[in-house]
Symmetry: C3
Subunit: 177 residues, 3 copies
């Protein structure tokens, strides 16, 4: 039994939140979600950074390579505007991309809003760290995580990250590996 | 209120239609569709060009950068044959790609024909212009646009294009920005 | 009437099966599937090779360029682990990618297991050969082929491969070209 608690990097990407022009709501939403599904404790490292591709890349690399994160969730910066560069920065640091995550998140969000197809959310792997782009809005974060989280513990097992235990009443984890 | 009417670039990509070997049916279908959903007038710039990647790229760049198009719809050239290069040309000129459009169009077309998965339709952004690859057949054009058009006005707002007003009886536009 | 029987390249990608550490189950599953749907005979060329990107690429190129395969099915090596490189090798040798295949296979597999979104299966074209990545497990192979095979004969027609005739009681082939 692996005693090490998983570390989640939580990265809110927003020019305005990083300048303090408004309060970030992404990281609190992510923490609330994790608390509701993770069994046995976890740690987080929280960052609020601007929509700047090189800065996002450096943050992702540091969290994956130096800080021991098994999972990084980004929130924000996945839309079509010029400043939305989170997917580009994610692709640049990942060794493998996992297109199924973006496909499924867009599909579940599309059942709510037709503009869900504007989202360019990526997922990928860097070393023993799984990186996932999430939307900026707390409600959309929860909708996306509800859809894709059941696949994350197995993915992290496969790439050699920490064991992520899930509360019995949260959802059934499929963990064949 | 932005008084400028939106300009749509309509690009039919077809070796045979560009040589006059048969009549292009893509642009008429696109115009009919636009007339049925756009409120308050619009302009189009129409081009019928061969399946040649450099030529397609130059056409897309001219329409986006010089002609002031807020939207470009291409029709044709998205299949698996050697001469089908519209998606490659589109990718080459876009600063951002929007994979959700292709995913949704393939999904709705798949409900009609199993060969819908052969379509390689792309969508992306160049400057303040949204570019979308559509199929060649009028019926398939309408099916695809019915699925994705509700997301286009908001996308064009976000990237700084002209205001695209939609007829009240056409469909509900979700426009959070 | 084209009398030439189609040749299918069947490539099982697995470090352990290629060393004989366990028996490959992918190629037998593929042959059983082909026998159940193909009318009028077919040939296969079977290869069991390790999870090594340059080796996979060379195998795919030889089967497409020298051995006259109209279709190559790979099985295995599409997951998130470091050794899973079949999609990368496939992309490297294809002139065109067909994203609709991966999207649809992930979607149908997702109805069975939540970890289906971890699959990175690709499809693409090299010359007159259609290449498709399939999962490693026989049950998942059949589920994926049931979903996408109806589009393959038309695709191979379009790219100039051999005529693939389908048994009348297998499924309806849509073949507009």
């Amino acid at each position: 039994m692996n005693e090490k608690k998983p570390i989640f990097g939580l990265v809110s990407v927003s020019d305005r939140a990083s300048k303090g022009e408004y309060e970030d709501r992404g990281i609190p939403a992510l923490k609330e979600y994790l608390a509701s599904v993770i069994e046995g404790g976890f740690e987080t490292i929280d960052m609020v950074i601007p929509d700047d591709a090189p800065g996002i890349q450096q943050t992702l690399m540091a969290l994956a390579d130096e800080k021991g994160c098994s999972v990084i969730f980004t929130t924000g910066g996945t839309g079509p505007s010029k400043r939305d560069v989170t997917p580009e920065a994610t692709r640049a640091v990942c060794e493998k991309l996992l297109p199924g995550f973006g496909e499924l998140m867009r599909r579940v969000s599309l059942a709510k809003v037709p503009t869900a197809i504007l989202s360019r959310q990526e997922a990928g792997i860097r070393g023993a760290c799984f990186i996932l782009n999430l939307p900026g809005k707390p409600k959309a974060i929860k909708e996306c995580l509800d859809a894709v989280f059941p696949a994350i513990p197995d993915c992290v097992d496969i790439i050699g990250g920490a064991f992520i235990d899930i509360k019995k009443d949260a959802f059934a984890v499929y963990r064949p590996h």
